[in-house]
Symmetry: none
């Protein structure tokens, strides 16, 4: 956590340096996230950015990256290498619904 780290900040201040305003509900990555809804999307699954998933789980975006790297979360990569996550999967995991596990 970050309650008595190097930085003297209060308890609720987890990811703040990079996130401007994420109060209560998730904020878009750059403030303009209406990119998916405008165009007609034949078979587009709702995707979430790392910051959005991190906010939903109350963790750092880096942690979400580790989950993806560990295979705990399905990640779709952009052409630039950034990850996107399936909203349905994230919601299911948050709800405690066990996903397909090959273990």
């Amino acid at each position: 956590m970050a309650w008595k780290s190097r930085t003297p900040m209060a308890i609720g201040d987890i990811r703040d340096k990079r996130n401007k305003a994420v109060t209560g509900s998730l904020a878009g990555p750059h403030g303009g996230e209406a990119a998916q809804m405008s165009a007609r999307t034949p078979e587009a699954e709702p995707l979430l950015t790392p910051a959005e998933v991190a906010t939903m789980f109350r963790v750092d975006p880096k942690t979400v990256t580790r989950w993806a790297k560990a295979g705990k979360l399905t990640s779709i990569r952009t052409l630039g290498g950034h990850r996107r996550y399936r909203e349905t999967e994230v919601r299911a995991l948050l709800a405690g619904i066990p996903q397909q596990r090959s273990e």
Copy 2:
């Protein structure tokens, strides 16, 4: 765990510090709740870390874990197994609002 050694923060500040202004710039008159910009945001309930809940109750994080294990507190797990708690539930308990009792 000597978590209460040096942590100069007030309990009242625990609630919503997730709003952070940019570096040195103005954060608006209120500086508090920001506005929601988009509607494309997945539903995310505010979650608290064990340390946050422990600070709010003035107890050890281990005690919060015991509460969760005893079913007195709803706990959501991260993919790594760490617990997160519902902010609304914690606040209600702190306010003395009786939750659902089994008996």
